[in-house]
Protein backbone atom coordinates (compact mmCIF):
# COMPACT_ATOMS: atom_id res chain seq x y z
CA UNK A 1 0.00 0.00 0.00
CA UNK A 2 1.57 3.29 -1.10
CA UNK A 3 1.76 6.21 1.31
CA UNK A 4 -0.37 9.25 0.41
CA UNK A 5 2.62 11.41 -0.54
CA UNK A 6 5.55 10.33 -2.69
CA UNK A 7 8.58 12.55 -3.08
CA UNK A 8 11.13 11.71 -5.75
CA UNK A 9 14.53 13.16 -4.88
CA UNK A 10 16.04 13.52 -1.41
CA UNK A 11 18.03 16.73 -1.82
CA UNK A 12 17.20 19.99 -0.04
CA UNK A 13 13.88 20.35 -1.93
CA UNK A 14 12.72 16.77 -1.40
CA UNK A 15 13.70 16.62 2.27
CA UNK A 16 12.01 19.98 2.93
CA UNK A 17 8.82 18.82 1.22
CA UNK A 18 8.71 15.67 3.36
CA UNK A 19 9.38 17.66 6.54
CA UNK A 20 6.71 20.29 5.81
CA UNK A 21 4.10 17.63 5.07
CA UNK A 22 5.10 15.52 8.08
CA UNK A 23 4.66 18.51 10.39
CA UNK A 24 0.97 18.33 9.47
CA UNK A 25 0.72 14.59 9.95
CA UNK A 26 1.12 13.53 6.30
CA UNK A 27 2.88 10.21 5.82
CA UNK A 28 5.29 10.18 2.91
CA UNK A 29 7.90 8.12 1.11
CA UNK A 30 11.09 9.81 -0.11
CA UNK A 31 12.95 7.91 -2.82
CA UNK A 32 16.45 8.80 -3.93
CA UNK A 33 18.94 7.16 -6.24
CA UNK A 34 21.87 8.10 -4.03
CA UNK A 35 23.42 6.14 -1.21
CA UNK A 36 21.94 8.60 1.28
CA UNK A 37 19.75 11.71 1.46
CA UNK A 38 21.28 15.08 0.65
CA UNK A 39 21.14 15.28 -3.11
CA UNK A 40 24.29 16.49 -4.84
CA UNK A 41 24.87 19.61 -2.76
CA UNK A 42 24.67 17.87 0.63
CA UNK A 43 26.20 14.57 -0.43
CA UNK A 44 27.64 12.64 2.50
CA UNK A 45 31.17 11.20 2.44
CA UNK A 46 31.11 7.44 1.93
CA UNK A 47 34.71 6.74 2.91
CA UNK A 48 35.23 6.56 6.67
CA UNK A 49 38.91 7.56 6.50
CA UNK A 50 38.82 10.16 3.75
CA UNK A 51 36.78 12.90 2.13
CA UNK A 52 35.58 16.19 3.57
CA UNK A 53 33.29 16.63 6.60
CA UNK A 54 29.60 16.70 5.59
CA UNK A 55 27.85 20.03 5.03
CA UNK A 56 26.18 21.27 8.24
CA UNK A 57 22.87 22.16 6.61
CA UNK A 58 22.69 18.72 5.01
CA UNK A 59 23.32 17.06 8.38
CA UNK A 60 20.54 19.15 9.96
CA UNK A 61 18.00 18.23 7.29
CA UNK A 62 18.95 14.53 7.41
CA UNK A 63 18.63 14.56 11.23
CA UNK A 64 15.19 16.17 11.09
CA UNK A 65 14.00 13.61 8.54
CA UNK A 66 15.38 10.80 10.73
CA UNK A 67 13.58 12.26 13.78
CA UNK A 68 10.27 11.95 11.90
CA UNK A 69 10.93 8.37 10.77
CA UNK A 70 7.43 7.34 11.84
CA UNK A 71 5.99 9.64 9.17
CA UNK A 72 8.77 9.80 6.57
CA UNK A 73 9.87 6.54 4.96
CA UNK A 74 13.21 6.89 3.18
CA UNK A 75 14.19 4.57 0.35
CA UNK A 76 17.83 4.96 -0.72
CA UNK A 77 19.51 3.61 -3.88
CA UNK A 78 16.02 3.55 -5.37
CA UNK A 79 15.64 4.72 -8.96
CA UNK A 80 12.33 6.07 -10.31
CA UNK A 81 12.37 4.89 -13.94
CA UNK A 82 8.89 5.74 -15.15
CA UNK A 83 5.74 7.72 -14.38
CA UNK A 84 2.41 6.49 -15.69
CA UNK A 85 -1.06 8.04 -15.80
CA UNK A 86 -0.05 11.17 -13.94
CA UNK A 87 1.43 10.01 -10.70
CA UNK A 88 2.01 6.24 -10.64
CA UNK A 89 5.74 5.86 -10.28
CA UNK A 90 7.81 2.81 -11.26
CA UNK A 91 10.65 2.29 -8.82
CA UNK A 92 13.68 -0.01 -9.00
CA UNK A 93 15.51 -0.98 -5.82
CA UNK A 94 17.79 -3.97 -5.14
CA UNK A 95 17.11 -5.42 -8.58
CA UNK A 96 13.31 -5.45 -8.21
CA UNK A 97 10.73 -3.02 -9.58
CA UNK A 98 7.34 -2.01 -8.21
CA UNK A 99 4.67 0.57 -8.87
CA UNK A 100 3.93 3.23 -6.23
CA UNK A 101 0.51 4.87 -6.39
CA UNK A 102 0.46 7.96 -4.17
CA UNK A 103 -2.38 10.48 -4.02
CA UNK A 104 0.13 13.33 -4.25
CA UNK A 105 3.52 13.41 -5.97
CA UNK A 106 6.32 15.93 -5.46
CA UNK A 107 9.11 15.76 -8.02
CA UNK A 108 12.42 17.12 -6.73
CA UNK A 109 14.96 15.53 -9.09
CA UNK A 110 17.55 18.33 -9.15
CA UNK A 111 19.70 19.37 -12.08
CA UNK A 112 22.58 18.06 -14.14
CA UNK A 113 25.62 19.87 -15.41
CA UNK A 114 25.67 21.26 -18.90
CA UNK A 115 28.62 20.08 -20.98
CA UNK A 116 28.39 20.97 -24.67
CA UNK A 117 30.07 18.67 -27.17
CA UNK A 118 33.67 19.54 -28.08
CA UNK A 119 36.47 17.49 -29.66
CA UNK A 120 37.85 14.96 -27.17
CA UNK A 121 35.10 15.49 -24.61
CA UNK A 122 34.43 11.74 -24.40
CA UNK A 123 38.02 10.85 -23.39
CA UNK A 124 38.39 9.18 -19.98
CA UNK A 125 39.58 11.92 -17.63
CA UNK A 126 37.12 14.51 -18.95
CA UNK A 127 34.27 14.77 -16.47
CA UNK A 128 31.86 17.24 -14.95
CA UNK A 129 33.01 19.43 -12.04
CA UNK A 130 30.38 17.61 -9.98
CA UNK A 131 31.93 14.22 -10.73
CA UNK A 132 35.36 15.51 -9.69
CA UNK A 133 33.86 17.02 -6.56
CA UNK A 134 32.24 13.72 -5.60
CA UNK A 135 35.53 11.85 -6.02
CA UNK A 136 37.46 14.22 -3.81
CA UNK A 137 34.80 15.29 -1.31
CA UNK A 138 33.05 12.02 -0.55
CA UNK A 139 35.90 9.57 -1.14
CA UNK A 140 39.18 11.47 -0.87
CA UNK A 141 40.11 10.33 -4.39
CA UNK A 142 41.92 12.67 -6.76
CA UNK A 143 40.45 12.90 -10.27
CA UNK A 144 43.99 13.28 -11.66
CA UNK A 145 47.56 14.37 -11.01
CA UNK A 146 47.20 17.62 -12.96
CA UNK A 147 43.66 18.97 -13.05
CA UNK A 148 42.13 21.81 -15.06
CA UNK A 149 38.69 23.14 -14.04
CA UNK A 150 36.86 24.90 -16.87
CA UNK A 151 33.48 26.22 -17.97
CA UNK A 152 31.40 28.93 -16.35
CA UNK A 153 29.72 29.83 -13.10
CA UNK A 154 30.56 30.04 -9.41
CA UNK A 155 30.45 26.26 -8.95
CA UNK A 156 33.85 25.99 -10.69
CA UNK A 157 35.50 27.98 -7.91
CA UNK A 158 33.90 25.90 -5.18
CA UNK A 159 35.12 22.67 -6.78
CA UNK A 160 38.62 24.06 -7.43
CA UNK A 161 38.86 25.04 -3.74
CA UNK A 162 37.79 21.61 -2.59
CA UNK A 163 40.40 20.01 -4.84
CA UNK A 164 43.12 22.32 -3.51
CA UNK A 165 42.07 21.62 0.09
CA UNK A 166 42.48 17.90 -0.61
CA UNK A 167 46.00 18.44 -1.94
CA UNK A 168 45.12 17.99 -5.61
CA UNK A 169 47.24 19.94 -8.11
CA UNK A 170 44.88 22.31 -9.92
CA UNK A 171 46.76 23.81 -12.87
CA UNK A 172 44.14 26.46 -13.72
CA UNK A 173 40.52 27.53 -13.54
CA UNK A 174 39.26 28.70 -16.94
CA UNK A 175 36.09 30.80 -16.72
CA UNK A 176 34.50 31.64 -20.06
CA UNK A 177 32.81 34.81 -18.80
CA UNK A 178 34.67 38.09 -18.59
CA UNK A 179 35.58 39.52 -15.22
CA UNK A 180 32.77 42.07 -15.35
CA UNK A 181 29.89 39.89 -14.06
CA UNK A 182 31.97 38.94 -11.03
CA UNK A 183 32.42 42.58 -10.19
CA UNK A 184 28.67 43.05 -10.48
CA UNK A 185 28.03 40.40 -7.86
CA UNK A 186 28.57 42.48 -4.70
CA UNK A 187 25.91 44.99 -5.78
CA UNK A 188 23.19 42.45 -6.37
CA UNK A 189 24.44 40.10 -3.72
CA UNK A 190 24.39 42.35 -0.69
CA UNK A 191 21.08 40.93 0.48
CA UNK A 192 22.61 37.52 0.90
CA UNK A 193 26.12 38.28 2.18
CA UNK A 194 26.66 34.59 2.91
CA UNK A 195 26.80 33.73 -0.79
CA UNK A 196 28.96 36.71 -1.60
CA UNK A 197 31.43 36.02 1.21
CA UNK A 198 31.68 32.44 0.07
CA UNK A 199 32.61 33.59 -3.45
CA UNK A 200 35.28 35.96 -2.14
CA UNK A 201 36.64 33.24 0.13
CA UNK A 202 36.99 30.87 -2.82
CA UNK A 203 38.90 33.44 -4.86
CA UNK A 204 41.20 34.28 -1.94
CA UNK A 205 41.95 30.62 -1.27
CA UNK A 206 42.77 29.92 -4.89
CA UNK A 207 45.06 32.97 -5.03
CA UNK A 208 46.80 31.77 -1.88
CA UNK A 209 47.28 28.32 -3.39
CA UNK A 210 48.72 29.87 -6.56
CA UNK A 211 45.92 28.58 -8.78
CA UNK A 212 45.37 30.98 -11.67
CA UNK A 213 41.72 31.89 -12.32
CA UNK A 214 41.64 33.01 -15.95
CA UNK A 215 38.55 34.76 -17.31
CA UNK A 216 37.36 34.90 -20.93
CA UNK A 217 39.12 31.59 -21.61
CA UNK A 218 37.56 28.37 -22.72
CA UNK A 219 38.64 24.79 -23.32
CA UNK A 220 38.15 24.08 -27.02
CA UNK A 221 39.53 20.53 -27.33
CA UNK A 222 40.90 17.59 -25.35
CA UNK A 223 43.55 15.19 -26.59
CA UNK A 224 44.90 11.79 -25.62
CA UNK A 225 45.15 8.20 -26.77
CA UNK A 226 42.68 6.25 -24.65
CA UNK A 227 42.82 8.82 -21.85
CA UNK A 228 43.21 12.58 -21.46
CA UNK A 229 46.78 13.89 -21.81
CA UNK A 230 46.43 17.46 -23.02
CA UNK A 231 43.84 20.20 -23.44
CA UNK A 232 43.63 23.18 -25.76
CA UNK A 233 42.21 26.46 -24.53
CA UNK A 234 41.76 29.81 -26.17
CA UNK A 235 40.61 33.32 -25.30
CA UNK A 236 36.95 34.00 -26.11
CA UNK A 237 34.99 37.14 -26.91
CA UNK A 238 31.85 38.28 -25.10
CA UNK A 239 29.80 35.66 -26.98
CA UNK A 240 32.38 32.96 -26.16
CA UNK A 241 33.66 32.64 -29.71
CA UNK A 242 37.22 31.31 -29.39
CA UNK A 243 40.17 33.09 -30.97
CA UNK A 244 41.83 29.97 -32.38
CA UNK A 245 44.98 31.82 -33.44
CA UNK A 246 45.82 32.21 -29.75
CA UNK A 247 45.23 28.59 -28.72
CA UNK A 248 47.38 27.27 -25.89
CA UNK A 249 48.09 23.58 -25.25
CA UNK A 250 48.41 22.46 -21.67
CA UNK A 251 49.08 19.10 -20.02
CA UNK A 252 46.22 17.69 -17.93
CA UNK A 253 45.08 14.19 -17.01
CA UNK A 254 41.76 15.40 -15.63
CA UNK A 255 39.51 18.09 -17.06
CA UNK A 256 36.50 19.10 -14.98
CA UNK A 257 34.24 20.98 -17.37
CA UNK A 258 30.73 22.36 -16.98
CA UNK A 259 28.74 25.41 -18.07
CA UNK A 260 26.04 25.73 -15.44
CA UNK A 261 23.11 23.39 -14.89
CA UNK A 262 20.07 21.97 -16.67
CA UNK A 263 16.86 20.97 -14.81
CA UNK A 264 16.06 17.26 -14.89
CA UNK A 265 12.56 17.06 -16.29
CA UNK A 266 12.26 13.46 -17.50
CA UNK A 267 9.90 12.37 -14.70
CA UNK A 268 7.71 15.45 -15.08
CA UNK A 269 7.54 14.80 -18.83
CA UNK A 270 6.51 11.18 -18.34
CA UNK A 271 3.86 12.34 -15.86
CA UNK A 272 2.46 14.46 -18.67
CA UNK A 273 3.43 17.86 -17.24
CA UNK A 274 3.59 20.66 -19.80
CA UNK A 275 7.05 22.24 -20.17
CA UNK A 276 8.07 25.77 -21.02
CA UNK A 277 11.36 27.14 -22.36
CA UNK A 278 13.12 29.27 -19.73
CA UNK A 279 16.79 29.57 -20.74
CA UNK A 280 17.52 31.85 -17.77
CA UNK A 281 17.00 28.90 -15.37
CA UNK A 282 18.56 26.19 -17.52
CA UNK A 283 16.17 25.44 -20.37
CA UNK A 284 12.98 23.36 -20.35
CA UNK A 285 11.09 23.50 -17.05
CA UNK A 286 7.66 22.27 -15.93
CA UNK A 287 4.93 24.93 -16.10
CA UNK A 288 3.87 25.68 -12.49
CA UNK A 289 1.34 27.81 -10.66
CA UNK A 290 2.36 29.98 -7.70
CA UNK A 291 2.05 26.98 -5.35
CA UNK A 292 4.37 24.93 -7.56
CA UNK A 293 1.61 22.68 -8.94
CA UNK A 294 2.34 21.37 -12.43
CA UNK A 295 -0.27 21.08 -15.16
CA UNK A 296 -1.01 17.50 -13.98
CA UNK A 297 -3.42 17.17 -11.07
CA UNK A 298 -1.70 16.12 -7.84
CA UNK A 299 1.86 16.64 -9.11
CA UNK A 300 4.16 19.39 -7.81
CA UNK A 301 7.81 20.15 -8.60
CA UNK A 302 10.39 21.88 -6.42
CA UNK A 303 14.06 22.80 -6.50
CA UNK A 304 16.62 22.86 -9.29
CA UNK A 305 14.66 20.30 -11.31
CA UNK A 306 11.98 22.93 -11.80
CA UNK A 307 14.43 25.69 -12.76
CA UNK A 308 17.99 26.01 -11.51
CA UNK A 309 18.09 28.36 -8.51
CA UNK A 310 20.31 26.73 -5.87
CA UNK A 311 19.86 25.07 -2.49
CA UNK A 312 18.30 28.00 -0.60
CA UNK A 313 15.49 28.36 -3.12
CA UNK A 314 15.15 24.56 -3.24
CA UNK A 315 14.47 24.40 0.50
CA UNK A 316 11.77 27.06 0.38
CA UNK A 317 10.19 25.54 -2.71
CA UNK A 318 10.29 22.10 -1.13
CA UNK A 319 8.46 23.37 1.94
CA UNK A 320 5.89 25.13 -0.23
CA UNK A 321 5.27 21.99 -2.31
CA UNK A 322 5.02 19.89 0.85
CA UNK A 323 2.43 22.27 2.32
CA UNK A 324 0.48 22.36 -0.94
CA UNK A 325 0.40 18.55 -1.02
CA UNK A 326 -0.68 18.45 2.66
CA UNK A 327 -3.46 20.90 1.84
CA UNK A 328 -4.60 18.76 -1.08
CA UNK A 329 -4.56 15.66 1.11
CA UNK A 330 -6.84 17.38 3.62
CA UNK A 331 -4.23 17.68 6.38
CA UNK A 332 -4.07 21.47 6.21
CA UNK A 333 -7.05 23.82 5.87
CA UNK A 334 -7.04 26.76 3.45
CA UNK A 335 -6.47 29.43 6.12
CA UNK A 336 -3.50 27.63 7.68
CA UNK A 337 -2.04 26.92 4.24
CA UNK A 338 -2.32 30.61 3.35
CA UNK A 339 -0.68 31.68 6.61
CA UNK A 340 2.18 29.21 6.30
CA UNK A 341 2.96 29.83 2.65
CA UNK A 342 3.14 33.64 2.89
CA UNK A 343 6.63 33.79 4.48
CA UNK A 344 7.90 31.18 2.02
CA UNK A 345 6.66 33.17 -0.96
CA UNK A 346 8.23 36.32 0.51
CA UNK A 347 11.55 34.53 0.99
CA UNK A 348 11.49 33.21 -2.57
CA UNK A 349 10.91 36.77 -3.83
CA UNK A 350 13.89 37.99 -1.75
CA UNK A 351 16.18 35.30 -3.17
CA UNK A 352 15.32 36.10 -6.79
CA UNK A 353 17.78 39.01 -7.42
CA UNK A 354 20.90 37.15 -6.28
CA UNK A 355 19.89 34.25 -8.46
CA UNK A 356 19.54 36.52 -11.46
CA UNK A 357 23.06 37.84 -10.88
CA UNK A 358 24.51 34.33 -10.58
CA UNK A 359 22.57 33.17 -13.63
CA UNK A 360 23.95 36.03 -15.69
CA UNK A 361 27.47 34.74 -15.00
CA UNK A 362 27.00 31.16 -16.14
CA UNK A 363 24.37 31.49 -18.86
CA UNK A 364 25.82 29.72 -21.91
CA UNK A 365 26.66 32.01 -24.82
CA UNK A 366 26.25 31.17 -28.54
CA UNK A 367 30.01 30.62 -29.11
CA UNK A 368 29.68 27.25 -27.35
CA UNK A 369 28.12 25.95 -30.56
CA UNK A 370 31.35 26.65 -32.48
CA UNK A 371 33.53 23.99 -30.90
CA UNK A 372 32.48 20.86 -32.79
CA UNK A 373 34.19 19.44 -35.87
CA UNK A 374 32.81 16.74 -38.20
CA UNK A 375 33.99 13.82 -36.08
CA UNK A 376 33.07 15.23 -32.65
CA UNK A 377 30.84 12.83 -30.74
CA UNK A 378 27.66 14.70 -29.83
CA UNK A 379 25.72 11.78 -28.28
CA UNK A 380 27.84 9.79 -25.83
CA UNK A 381 25.54 6.80 -25.47
CA UNK A 382 25.15 6.11 -29.18
CA UNK A 383 28.50 7.42 -30.49
CA UNK A 384 26.77 9.80 -32.92
CA UNK A 385 29.17 12.23 -34.64
CA UNK A 386 28.32 15.85 -35.43
CA UNK A 387 28.60 15.20 -39.19
CA UNK A 388 25.65 12.77 -39.00
CA UNK A 389 23.46 15.23 -37.11
CA UNK A 390 24.52 18.13 -39.32
CA UNK A 391 23.68 16.19 -42.49
CA UNK A 392 20.29 15.25 -41.04
CA UNK A 393 19.63 18.89 -40.14
CA UNK A 394 20.48 19.88 -43.72
CA UNK A 395 18.04 17.21 -44.90
CA UNK A 396 15.31 18.88 -42.87
CA UNK A 397 15.39 17.11 -39.48
CA UNK A 398 15.39 19.91 -36.91
CA UNK A 399 13.55 18.47 -33.91
CA UNK A 400 14.47 15.93 -31.24
CA UNK A 401 12.03 13.38 -32.61
CA UNK A 402 13.15 13.57 -36.22
CA UNK A 403 16.87 13.65 -35.39
CA UNK A 404 16.52 10.69 -33.05
CA UNK A 405 14.97 8.63 -35.83
CA UNK A 406 17.48 9.82 -38.43
CA UNK A 407 20.70 9.59 -36.39
CA UNK A 408 20.02 7.72 -33.10
CA UNK A 409 21.00 10.87 -31.18
CA UNK A 410 19.48 10.73 -27.69
CA UNK A 411 18.38 7.13 -28.13
CA UNK A 412 20.79 5.57 -25.62
CA UNK A 413 20.69 4.76 -21.93
CA UNK A 414 20.46 8.41 -20.80
CA UNK A 415 17.68 9.16 -23.31
CA UNK A 416 19.10 12.48 -24.38
CA UNK A 417 19.46 13.75 -20.84
CA UNK A 418 23.20 14.42 -21.25
CA UNK A 419 23.48 15.23 -24.94
CA UNK A 420 20.27 16.89 -26.06
CA UNK A 421 20.74 20.31 -24.39
CA UNK A 422 24.04 20.60 -26.28
CA UNK A 423 22.76 19.16 -29.56
CA UNK A 424 19.72 21.45 -29.48
CA UNK A 425 22.10 24.42 -29.34
CA UNK A 426 24.06 23.07 -32.32
CA UNK A 427 20.83 22.58 -34.26
CA UNK A 428 19.75 26.10 -33.33
CA UNK A 429 23.06 27.52 -34.56
CA UNK A 430 22.85 25.53 -37.81
CA UNK A 431 19.29 26.67 -38.50
CA UNK A 432 19.76 30.19 -37.13
CA UNK A 433 16.90 29.46 -34.73
CA UNK A 434 16.46 28.95 -30.99
CA UNK A 435 17.12 25.72 -29.05
CA UNK A 436 13.45 26.02 -28.10
CA UNK A 437 12.28 25.15 -31.61
CA UNK A 438 14.22 21.85 -31.53
CA UNK A 439 12.01 20.86 -28.60
CA UNK A 440 12.88 18.95 -25.44
CA UNK A 441 14.11 15.35 -25.44
CA UNK A 442 11.10 13.10 -24.92
CA UNK A 443 11.91 10.21 -22.59
CA UNK A 444 10.16 6.85 -22.54
CA UNK A 445 10.22 4.48 -19.59
CA UNK A 446 12.49 2.95 -18.45
CA UNK A 447 14.75 6.01 -18.11
CA UNK A 448 17.18 4.04 -15.97
CA UNK A 449 19.02 0.83 -16.89
CA UNK A 450 16.56 -1.87 -15.77
CA UNK A 451 17.03 -5.46 -16.96
CA UNK A 452 14.35 -7.19 -19.01
CA UNK A 453 14.12 -9.82 -16.30
CA UNK A 454 13.36 -7.18 -13.67
CA UNK A 455 10.74 -5.62 -15.95
CA UNK A 456 9.07 -8.97 -16.60
CA UNK A 457 8.99 -9.86 -12.91
CA UNK A 458 7.54 -6.49 -11.91
CA UNK A 459 4.54 -6.93 -14.22
CA UNK A 460 4.74 -3.18 -14.99
CA UNK A 461 4.07 -2.72 -18.68
CA UNK A 462 5.92 0.36 -19.91
Amino acid sequence: MSRPLLIVGGGPAGMSAALAAAEHGVRSTVVDEGLDLGGQIYRKPTRPDGGAPPHRRGEQLRARVAALADRIEVRRSAAAWGVFEGRRVALSQDGASELLEPQALVLAPGALEFVPPFPGATLPGVMTPGAGQILVKTMGISPGARVVVAGSGPFLLAVACQLVAAGVHVAAVLEASPRAPWLALPLSGFRTPGLLLEGMKYLARLRLAGVPVRHSRMVIAAHGDGALREIEHAPVDADWNPDRARTVREKADALLVGFGFVPRVQLAQMAGCRLEWRPEVGGWTPVRDEHLATTVDGVWTAGDGAGVAGALVAESEGRLAGLAAAHRLGALDAARFAALRAPLLARLRRLAPIRRALDAISLPRPGLANLVDDATIVCRCEDVAWRDVRDAVRAGCTTYRSLKVATRVGMGACQGCSCWPGVARLVAAATKGSPESAGPASPRPPVRPVTLGELAESRIAP
Binding site: R47, L112, A413, S418, P446, P449
Partner: protein, 90 residues
Protein backbone atom coordinates in the same frame (compact mmCIF):
# COMPACT_ATOMS: atom_id res chain seq x y z
CA UNK B 1 44.22 1.44 4.06
CA UNK B 2 43.37 -0.67 1.04
CA UNK B 3 41.23 -3.12 2.93
CA UNK B 4 38.58 -4.27 0.49
CA UNK B 5 39.44 -6.88 -2.11
CA UNK B 6 37.35 -7.35 -5.23
CA UNK B 7 37.69 -8.81 -8.73
CA UNK B 8 38.28 -6.34 -11.55
CA UNK B 9 38.20 -7.92 -15.01
CA UNK B 10 39.19 -11.20 -13.42
CA UNK B 11 42.08 -9.82 -11.39
CA UNK B 12 42.12 -9.44 -7.59
CA UNK B 13 42.55 -5.75 -6.62
CA UNK B 14 42.28 -3.79 -3.36
CA UNK B 15 40.88 -0.40 -2.42
CA UNK B 16 39.90 1.50 0.74
CA UNK B 17 36.44 0.87 2.20
CA UNK B 18 33.66 3.31 1.33
CA UNK B 19 34.45 3.84 -2.35
CA UNK B 20 32.04 3.55 -5.22
CA UNK B 21 33.25 1.22 -7.97
CA UNK B 22 33.97 4.29 -10.13
CA UNK B 23 35.95 5.81 -7.24
CA UNK B 24 37.90 2.59 -6.84
CA UNK B 25 38.83 2.64 -10.53
CA UNK B 26 40.27 6.14 -10.16
CA UNK B 27 42.07 5.03 -7.00
CA UNK B 28 43.60 2.17 -8.99
CA UNK B 29 44.37 4.55 -11.90
CA UNK B 30 42.44 2.25 -14.21
CA UNK B 31 39.73 4.28 -15.63
CA UNK B 32 37.98 2.46 -18.46
CA UNK B 33 34.58 1.08 -17.49
CA UNK B 34 33.21 0.29 -20.92
CA UNK B 35 33.87 0.64 -24.62
CA UNK B 36 31.31 2.01 -27.04
CA UNK B 37 29.98 0.54 -30.25
CA UNK B 38 32.92 2.28 -31.99
CA UNK B 39 35.29 0.69 -29.41
CA UNK B 40 36.10 3.99 -27.72
CA UNK B 41 36.99 3.77 -24.01
CA UNK B 42 34.72 5.55 -21.56
CA UNK B 43 34.53 6.09 -17.82
CA UNK B 44 32.99 8.20 -15.07
CA UNK B 45 31.58 11.40 -16.53
CA UNK B 46 28.62 12.90 -14.61
CA UNK B 47 29.28 11.04 -11.36
CA UNK B 48 25.62 11.09 -10.37
CA UNK B 49 23.90 8.31 -12.24
CA UNK B 50 22.58 10.23 -15.24
CA UNK B 51 24.93 9.75 -18.17
CA UNK B 52 25.41 5.95 -17.87
CA UNK B 53 29.01 6.30 -19.20
CA UNK B 54 30.41 4.36 -16.24
CA UNK B 55 28.22 1.25 -16.47
CA UNK B 56 29.88 -2.13 -15.91
CA UNK B 57 28.86 -5.70 -15.34
CA UNK B 58 28.71 -6.28 -11.59
CA UNK B 59 28.30 -9.80 -10.20
CA UNK B 60 26.92 -10.85 -13.56
CA UNK B 61 24.38 -8.03 -13.75
CA UNK B 62 24.79 -5.82 -16.84
CA UNK B 63 24.76 -2.01 -17.00
CA UNK B 64 25.26 -1.25 -13.32
CA UNK B 65 26.07 2.42 -12.80
CA UNK B 66 29.42 2.22 -11.00
CA UNK B 67 29.19 5.80 -9.72
CA UNK B 68 26.11 4.81 -7.69
CA UNK B 69 27.34 1.47 -6.36
CA UNK B 70 29.73 0.87 -3.47
CA UNK B 71 32.48 -1.73 -3.72
CA UNK B 72 31.75 -4.79 -1.61
CA UNK B 73 34.32 -7.43 -0.67
CA UNK B 74 34.46 -10.21 -3.23
CA UNK B 75 32.45 -8.28 -5.81
CA UNK B 76 33.01 -9.25 -9.44
CA UNK B 77 33.33 -6.21 -11.70
CA UNK B 78 33.83 -6.51 -15.44
CA UNK B 79 34.17 -4.00 -18.28
CA UNK B 80 31.34 -3.85 -20.80
CA UNK B 81 32.07 -3.89 -24.49
CA UNK B 82 30.26 -2.45 -27.46
CA UNK B 83 26.51 -2.83 -27.29
CA UNK B 84 26.57 -5.29 -24.39
CA UNK B 85 24.61 -2.91 -22.21
CA UNK B 86 21.83 -2.56 -24.74
CA UNK B 87 21.08 -6.26 -24.95
CA UNK B 88 20.24 -6.35 -21.26
CA UNK B 89 19.26 -2.82 -20.41
CA UNK B 90 16.51 -1.79 -22.70
Amino acid sequence: MDDVEFQLNGEAVRCPAGLTIAGALFHLRRTTTRTTRLHAPRTLFCGMGICCECVMEVDGRASVRTCMTLVRPGMRVDAQRGDAELSEAS
